[in-house]
């Protein structure tokens, strides 16, 4: 196949860039023309330029158990994803509605538990979730915000409808790639940005910093905010340092913090200094060995008590994981109706729940057709994609499902939408998803677009960075009268 888009196949999937008859969609037309005119050498040069700059800047993530060396670049595919502003506005409203409901839900389950008492969400499901934190019961977090930063995963099905795949309400990562991708794309394709009116994304770190200051305890007028990282060997360390740098705040490890009289201090060259807000990128389990996992050496003994006393605010709050348990997830539309008396704007992926006998039987009977996910995992680990599974894997999951039905959900295989991507010298359709980042502070702020992840392996549906995924810049574009300007 020649360089370009001649012979581009949509293979029966919903393709963002081309319709079934091989004609580029209206909002991608100028972009496709630009790439058509480019010589393969020119394209390769631009691709190398971007790759080189990522490597030099150390925009990398760490892969465990990889003999190739610890750091890898998260590959940037140069064809951006374009979302027309009209489409984005709906997503933005849907995501705002969703985060409001999730924060209300968390406030409720750690206080009155109305939604459980009224039987809208089964109590045993919530109370048995491994991320439910009894320690949070009755504790008021500042401004009732639990999930300060949310990274909801959206996908599009065969009809092009957006569906929520999961709400990442614990420590969602990836936003630094989104911001760096935009910088790189501007360097590589300056003219394209002039042709499309792309909504800027660089306000993210300002919004984040404002949201973190907003939740500072007490009447603190100039709160001291720090970012807590597990350390330089964490897979997302680049992002941690990137965010701290962009906000101009300190990045700290557990050993930098000390608790005295239930107050949190950092150890400085001039003695101890009080800390008010901690943007922590450490999971609940590891945050305080006195309360949670005793073997944690990255946490701070006594931190949780300081938090409960209201002397320091943690973002995200402890215990948010109960809202992104994959079984609880399926009730989010009900939460929206219950708390907001609104109809959900964004739909969920239909979900069978292992805990319901009827669903369990369906899952066991149709295992080779569906996706089965453990409820408490993230990062694409431990899931079964029925149609691609071996007999042994199917058998293994069948046993696991029967032994522990609560811990599994099933979903139909969604033929994720595809978008033209550069693969071995040609443009081919690859599956993508979208993770917008939602910041809840004084108001809800969502940066336009989000991180588009792409499964660069042929036919792969898994977009995670740890599993051969890459990313794309995401453009929310305003078009005059629905035509590219």
């Amino acid at each position: 196949m020649a360089f370009g888009f001649d012979g581009y196949q949509t293979d029966g999937f919903f393709d963002e860039s081309f319709s079934e008859d091989g004609i580029s969609r209206e909002h991608y037309r100028q972009l496709v023309e630009r790439f058509r005119k480019m010589s393969p050498e020119d394209f390769e040069r631009k691709r190398k330029l971007a790759e080189r700059s990522y490597l030099n800047q150390g925009i990398t993530f760490t892969v465990y158990n990889d003999n190739q060396g610890m750091e890898r670049i998260f590959p940037l595919d140069l064809i951006p994803r374009i979302i027309p502003a009209k489409e984005w506005d709906v997503l933005e409203r849907g995501l705002t509605q969703r985060i409001q409901a999730l924060n209300l839900f968390l406030r409720d389950v750690y206080h009155e538990q109305k939604i459980l008492k009224e039987g809208i969400v089964p109590a045993e499901l919530v109370l048995s979730a491994c991320h439910y934190r009894k320690e949070m019961e009755g504790f008021d977090v500042p401004h009732d915000i639990y999930i300060h930063i949310c990274g909801t995963d959206l996908i599009r099905d065969a009809n092009g409808s957006y569906l929520v795949l999961e709400d990442n309400g614990r420590c969602p990562s990836g936003v630094s790639y989104l911001l760096e991708n935009r910088q790189a794309m501007k360097r590589v394709f300056p003219k394209l940005f002039a042709q499309y009116s792309v909504r800027p994304v660089d306000s993210y770190t300002q919004e984040l910093y404002a949201a973190l200051r907003h939740v500072a305890p007490g009447r603190q007028s100039d709160p001291h905010v720090v970012l807590l990282t597990p350390g330089i060997h964490n897979s997302a360390y680049f992002e941690h340092s990137f965010l701290a740098r962009s906000m101009g705040i300190e990045i700290v490890v557990g050993g930098d913090l000390v608790i005295e009289r239930d107050k949190v201090f950092i150890k400085t060259t001039k003695g101890l200094q009080r800390v008010d807000v901690i943007y922590r990128r450490i999971d609940d389990d590891f945050i305080d060995p006195k309360v949670f996992r005793e073997d944690s050496c990255i946490g701070v003994p006594g931190l949780f008590e300081a938090y409960r006393k209201g002397n320091v605010t943690l973002a995200n709050a402890v215990g948010t994981g109960v809202a992104d348990d994959k079984a609880v997830y399926s009730f989010v539309p009900d939460m929206i109706r219950f708390y907001l008396s609104e109809e959900p704007i964004l739909a969920n992926v239909p979900t069978w729940m292992g805990m319901r006998e009827q669903d369990l039987n369906y899952m066991l009977e149709h295992l080779e057709e569906i996706v089965v996910k453990p409820t408490n995992e993230s990062g694409g680990y431990g899931l079964l994609i029925g149609p691609q599974a071996t007999k042994a894997q199917l058998a293994e999951f069948r046993t696991a499902l029967r032994a522990n039905p609560r811990n599994y959900i099933g979903q139909p295989v969604i033929g994720l939408s595809r978008l033209a991507s550069y693969c071995d010298g040609e443009f081919e359709g690859r599956h993508i998803d979208l993770r917008p980042y939602i910041v809840s502070g004084e108001k809800t702020a969502i940066i336009p677009g989000g991180l588009t992840r792409v499964a660069l392996r042929k036919n792969s549906l898994v977009v995670n960075s740890s599993q051969g995924g890459g990313s794309k810049d995401t453009w929310v574009c305003d078009f005059e009268e629905d035509k590219p300007c």
Partner: protein
């Protein structure tokens, strides 16, 4: 600033400076060997013996390699990860420290360190290394200069910068003392007198390794004499690689951090540094030579280590008995 950050700034800077100076020390020896290439007076173990001696690395080396050869010694000091003082180990350690404080240093500084690390890791550096050690080591030295220039030009000259200065100056003072000491360990061929041709060529090589040749010649009008060279590299007040210069800069950085006047001290690091500085201010090269040049250089290295330990203790290790505000 965070104690851990101060510590990482200090060590990042030390390791970069160390990489540079080690490149200088190795280059000077390689250069000397070229000068005497046609004289088959020395055995390989004698040629590389001084280098192993100034690094106190003889034992470590022999635990890894059965015999002393140019090829193995160069490998040991350049790429060997088992040698904590190899160029690669130094650059890697500098980068690990830089990674831990990326939000404190400028992106330009980080990129500079990262580039040299990626270079050393890649095939190109190995090709350059086998193609000609001189250009290879020059490149390492230039990378360090670039890093220092970028540091001065892109980073706020605040507390963190002062820690970087301290790391640089302690390491440089230590290295210059070792470079001068190389001469102590170099053997003169039989029949060659102290102050004779070979002796002078060796002293010239030491000057070159400190990039000090031109600066020295301007001051001593073309005469290369052992005592003058030692005087210049140890006691000159204005040459940026002389030990006295380093002690003065180190002293200023220490006092800039504490805010205490330089004729007083507020902690052990300042006290030790003040003593080192005034010793260098009021001694003469004749005194030094009389009491033994090698012994004097040894004591410089010991005092610098004391200062380093004291400043780490004062600023980088938080002690539980301090009062909270």
């Amino acid at each position: 600033m965070l104690s851990r950050v101060a510590d990482a700034c200090y060590w990042m800077s030390r390791y970069i400076e160390r990489a540079e100076n080690n490149a200088r020390i190795i280059a000077v020896n390689a250069q000397l060997l070229l000068d005497f290439e046609n004289q088959k007076t020395f055995l390989p173990q004698e040629q590389w013996q001084p280098i192993l001696a100034v690094f106190n690395a003889r034992k470590d080396y022999l635990s890894l390699y059965p015999e002393i050869s140019q090829e193995k010694v160069l490998e040991f000091f350049t790429y060997d990860r088992k040698n904590p003082n190899s160029l690669f180990s130094c650059v890697e350690a500098a980068r690990e420290n830089a990674r831990a404080i990326r939000e404190q240093i400028s992106s330009e500084m980080w990129e500079q360190i990262n580039k040299i690390y990626l270079y050393l890791q890649g095939d190109r550096s190995h090709a350059d290394f086998s193609g000609g050690t001189h250009d290879f080591y020059r490149r390492i030295i230039e990378s360090s200069h670039l890093f220092q220039g970028v540091t001065d030009a892109t980073m706020t000259h605040g507390e963190a910068w002062q820690f970087i200065q301290m790391g640089k100056m302690i390491e440089r003072g230590d290295s210059t003392s070792r470079l001068v000491d190389v001469k102590y360990h170099l053997l003169l061929p039989q029949g060659e007198a102290v102050g004779g041709t070979v002796d002078i060529v060796q002293w010239k090589a030491v000057l070159r390794s400190c990039s000090a040749m031109e600066a020295y010649l301007k001051l001593f009008a073309g005469q290369v004499q052992p005592a003058y060279v030692a005087n210049f590299l140890i006691l000159d007040g204005g040459f940026p690689r002389s030990i006295r210069f380093c002690a003065h800069r180190l002293n200023s950085a220490l006092h800039n951090i504490s805010g205490v006047a330089t004729n007083h001290f507020a902690n052990e690091a300042e006290r030790h540094c003040g003593m080192l500085r005034s010793n260098l201010d009021f001694t003469t090269i004749q005194d030094i030579i009389k009491s033994g040049l090698h012994e004097f250089l040894d004591s410089i290295q010991y005092q610098l280590m004391e200062i380093s330990n004291a400043l780490t203790h004062t600023y980088c290790q938080w002690r539980g008995n301090e009062k909270t505000p």
